[in-house]
Symmetry: C2
Subunit: 212 residues, 2 copies
């Protein structure tokens, strides 16, 4: 199909498609003449992945490029591609190894992960991210212990087991990788928004407002 048809099939405007081509997010079409290129189903699909990371994942273009590069690098296994996606999603956290409170929060986090038997890279940015949340809650007078964190860990485990199990690993590598990356990003948003919905509802009930 031509670029105008690719635009119609994907719902992405032609100038945006050209921008993705320039940015290296979308592979070039097959050049059939000096001014014409042919695009295929792979391009439609790649556009959907980009839009999902952009609109639902709200990742900046630079992070999307890192994820796409990992998706396209066939020397990487699924776990490595997922790791790249996780690093691209994770916010940059300022670690404070010289502060005692920080060290304690980080140690508590590491012990929880060990207790759960989770296999997490020692340098995973998520360790610092969790430590920061633990530290902040403690500073605000909300006591955080491994026990109080456990329900979050258990809920996350149950949901993720199901998501990973649903990934089609016997089809193409591309399909599996895309499902894994999208699963991480979009299901994360689903859980986050569900929690805020549940929070609003529980608050309406708890504080007994007549109009929810």
């Amino acid at each position: 199909m031509r670029v105008s048809q690719l635009s119609a099939a994907s719902g992405v405007p032609v100038p945006t498609i050209k921008y993705y081509l320039r940015e290296g997010l979308l592979p070039a079409g097959e050049q059939t003449s000096a001014t014409r290129a042919e695009y295929g189903e792979g391009h439609v699909r790649r556009l959907r992945l980009i839009r999902a990371l952009l609109e639902v994942g709200r990742l900046p273009i630079a992070s999307i490029r890192k994820v796409i590069t990992a998706v396209d690098d066939e020397s990487l296994g699924l776990h490595q591609v997922l790791g790249t996606a996780h690093y691209a999603i994770a916010p940059s956290i300022e670690s404070h190894p010289d502060h005692e409170d920080w060290r304690r929060a980080r140690a508590e986090t590491d012990r929880l992960i060990a207790d759960l038997g989770w296999r997490i890279h020692p340098n995973a940015p998520t360790r610092d991210e969790l430590a920061q949340a633990v530290l902040t809650l403690g500073q605000l007078g909300v006591p955080v212990t491994r026990e109080s964190l456990r329900p979050y860990a258990e809920a996350a485990t149950d949901l993720v087991e199901h998501e990973i199990g649903a990934i089609p690993v016997d089809g193409s590598r591309e399909a599996a990788v895309e499902a894994l990356v999208v699963g991480t990003v979009v299901h994360g948003r689903v859980l986050d928004v569900m929690r805020r919905l549940a929070h609003e509802s529980a608050s309406a009930r708890f504080f007994d407002v007549s109009e929810g």
Copy 2:
């Protein structure tokens, strides 16, 4: 205490404190002479709230100002303050009521909320947010139904019940409001990072990599 002591007590640098004062995030101290103001425990506490929203919630200053204004407005009940915080946290979603797929995703979302008996404002931005995630998963070939969404809703309900129940409603309004707002923001981050940790661990196991 003087501004230098407030800085020492809160760990927030003096120029940053002055910036928050100018931006109206922190109430002015009690002026004791032309060049001196006294700050109290309320200021230390307010600084912690600002830092939590900024560092853990990653909210922009304009959103933090909206939340703080609601916290300080004693005519608002706890549920209204929480609503303000939710609106400040929610990303802006482009709604597409003219697209059939969008309408279907949004209708599915509304039905799930009704099925669950949740009390959610008809114009809550979270409805569109969930609809967008449902639409995106569908476009990526991940079938989403009310049944597949239910485990997320149930996990969210359990966690939130506990969080809301832990809010100290018999103390000062300020303490309750802060706990509610911080609970929404920081516990949301806790759950999100737990899910990514669980995802990494499940992926390490599922794809059987020797080095997690």
